[in-house]
């Protein structure tokens, strides 16, 4: 335990050097700005600052790149809450309750609480990072294809009820999402599926295009001509006092934040997979845990704080496999390792011991960066919320522009903008046919993880399906999935009754 304190002190001394503080600030500031623009991800910001990393100390380079990375996860919820424009899978989950909150005039509260939730989630993961990085990294390695496949089965069953309304249509949309997720090159044979001659979707359909089409465009169409405009709230709702959460909001949020943080950190240590599903699972878990599941989807504060804390915990916990094993979870993490290698530092289990100033300096800079982010975000809330005061006739063309350019930026592809159009049409049709969009997105995210790992596991086991029950971790997930399923069938039978707020009737 003493070790941790001396290491933390060493890290702090590195992290508070003027240079590192400055680059940390640049990183989180850029990350926040880039993240706030819907659809523009961490890679855009990182590409911009890449040349800088060649000329600064490796620790400084990492501090800055990492700042962009988690700064983007903070910023991503802003457009999701205010305008229903999700740029990532995590932001799509935040839309579910964040946007209804904004329509009720509680946008300020939603933005405030997501900032706090992000901070709590990040902090929790940082503590985890400090105490047990080497241990947890090994746990991640025990996850083979069979474990991932079983985990996704559990996730799908647990989260298939994230939307309110008919369970049949919710499940149908999960299945449709899984189907859409199979589009592109088959992982094993390379066979192009559902591409219809368009190589642009050989790597799968852009998630940002789907999310923006189904959430952003569809909601925009719903507002146009309906006379509803964005909100039914007046200017008075934007007074500063209304921006802050009430005592009840705080009371409702601590539990979900704690559970979200734990779930997010747990998923985050799985390289590559964690961050994309952590927030879905956290949301689904809160909805099941809640005594009033009917409030979810209608502006429940638990529905934003749980996924946001999970998302940020996962983003920070993602550094565990990246730093201690040298296995990056995604492109941005890979870039950070590249920056290390260029400076002659080999990422791997020995980094923590051979370059303690780097590892601990980076970890301590996460604390500082997270504090920077809170102080960057809270004063901006009042500014962001005023976006909603812009007359809708000016707001919606601007939203359309940001949707299109954000989707374009992902791979500089005009084709992806046409996909937004396609998914906008689909989203509008789904809205009018009472088909929920969130389960579809869940299906899209999980589809390749499920299919590829299932088939990989079968390749490895030589075609023996028993592999899924013989491996203990995998078997555990499947057992849990069965338990959840039994619960759900019970829910199913009671039909709509369970959707209503009946405090004395916990699920």
């Amino acid at each position: 335990m003493l070790d941790i304190f001396s290491n933390a002190a060493l890290g702090l001394s590195v992290a508070v050097s003027p240079e590192n503080l400055l680059f940390c600030f640049i990183g989180v500031l850029l990350g926040t700005l880039v993240g706030t623009l819907p659809g523009i991800g961490a890679l855009a910001g990182v590409s911009l600052l890449l040349p800088v990393t060649f000329y600064v100390e490796p620790t400084t380079a990492l501090v800055m790149l990492a700042g962009i990375y988690y700064g983007v996860t903070y910023g991503g919820s802003t457009a999701a809450i205010l305008l229903n424009l999700p740029g990532s899978s995590a932001a799509a989950v935040t839309c579910l309750d964040g946007y209804p909150m904004a329509r009720q005039g509680r946008a300020g509260v939603a933005l405030f609480m997501t900032t706090i939730a992000s901070f709590v989630g990040g902090t929790f993961a940082i503590i985890l990072l400090m105490i047990c990085t080497p241990l947890l990294a090994r746990v991640g390695l025990n996850f083979g294809p069979a474990e991932y496949a079983s985990l996704v089965v559990l996730g799908l069953i647990a989260a298939s009820t994230i939307s309110s309304g008919s369970p049949v249509r919710g499940i149908a949309m999960v299945v449709l999402g899984l189907l859409i997720g199979t589009a592109g090159s088959d992982f094993e044979t390379g066979r192009l599926r559902f591409t219809f001659g368009h190589l642009e979707i050989a790597d799968g359909i852009s998630f940002v295009a789907i999310a923006m089409g189904l959430f952003g465009v569809a909601e925009l169409l719903n507002n146009i001509g309906s006379g509803a405009r964005t909100t039914t709230v007046s200017r008075a709702d934007y007074s500063w006092s209304k921006l802050y959460p009430t005592r009840q909001d705080w009371r409702d949020s601590w539990g979900p934040m704690g559970r979200g943080s734990v779930l997010g950190a747990a998923f985050g240590i799985l390289p590559g997979t964690g961050a994309s599903i952590a927030s879905f699972i956290a949301y689904a878990f809160e909805k099941r845990w809640s005594r009033t599941p009917g409030r979810f989807g209608n502006g429940a504060i638990e529905g934003i704080v749980a996924p946001e804390s999970a998302n940020n915990a996962a983003a920070q916990a993602g550094f565990i496999p990246t730093l201690s094993l040298g296995i990056p979870g995604d492109a941005v993490m890979a870039l950070m390792l590249g920056a290390l290698i260029i400076h002659g530092i080999t990422p791997g289990p020995q980094v923590v011991t051979s370059h303690p100033e780097l590892f601990w300096g980076l970890v301590m800079s996460f604390w500082i960066g997270n504090i920077f982010l809170v102080f960057l975000h809270l004063p901006l809330i009042g500014v962001w919320v005023r976006i909603l005061l812009v007359p809708y006739k000016y707001l919606y063309p601007s939203m359309l522009f940001f949707i299109c350019i954000g989707v374009y930026s992902v791979s500089n592809s005009s084709f992806d903008i046409l996909l937004v159009l396609l998914f906008g049409v689909l989203g509008f049709a789904m809205l009018k046919l009472d088909l929920p969009a969130a389960p579809l997105l869940l299906g899209v995210v999980l589809s390749p993880i499920l299919e590829n790992n299932l088939r990989r596991a079968m390749l490895i086991s030589g075609g023996d399906p028993l592999t899924f029950v013989e491996r203990p971790i995998s078997a555990g997930f499947l057992l849990a999935a069965v338990v959840v399923l039994v619960f759900s069938l019970n829910l199913f039978k009671r039909g709509k009754g369970s959707q209503q707020a009946v405090p004395a009737d916990p699920d």
Binding site: R169, R193, N222, F401, F415
Partner: protein, 150 residues
């Protein structure tokens, strides 16, 4: 759970789900290949998911249905204008440049919510163009040309 009165949109939803599922199952089986039972091919997943979707489409017919109000004529027209504006932007971004694309997007999309208000709309188009240039070309260095006329 059986609906009390007939709602054509429920039928449309079911038909769409069944058609999509059927097409996916067909393509999975005949085009992409199912593989073997313990060595699945590229078509196996789409096939299974397609069948599942058909089944769920049929189940949808007997589950509760509570749709929002059907789109008005005004909304149909608005939707058309919005879709057109996205298409115009996609097609003009690389051929004409960022600024013309933004202007076209703004003008087309503003048709969705009459009155058109030429002055306000043009001001908005100009403002968005400047913002777009500053943020995306100058700031984020996206590979886009402000004007790209031949």
């Amino acid at each position: 759970m059986i609906t009390r009165h007939f709602e054509p949109r429920q039928l449309i939803a079911s038909a769409a789900l069944c058609a999509t599922g059927g097409a996916a199952a067909y393509l999975g089986m005949y085009r992409y290949g199912l593989g073997e039972l313990f060595h699945l091919g590229a078509g196996a997943f789409p096939f299974l998911l397609g069948l599942l979707l058909v089944a769920l489409g049929l189940l949808n017919l007997i589950s509760a249905f509570d749709p929002p109000p059907a789109p008005t004529r005004h909304q149909w027209f608005g939707a058309l204008a919005v879709f057109a504006s996205i298409a115009v932007f996609a097609l003009s971004l690389e051929t004409l440049g960022l600024v013309p694309a933004v202007i076209l997007l703004t003008l087309t999309s503003r048709l969705a919510e009459p009155p058109f208000e030429p002055v306000g709309t043009l001001t908005l188009a100009a403002g968005l163009s400047v913002l777009a240039y500053i943020v995306f070309v100058f700031g984020l260095r996206m590979p886009l040309e402000a004007f790209n006329w031949p």
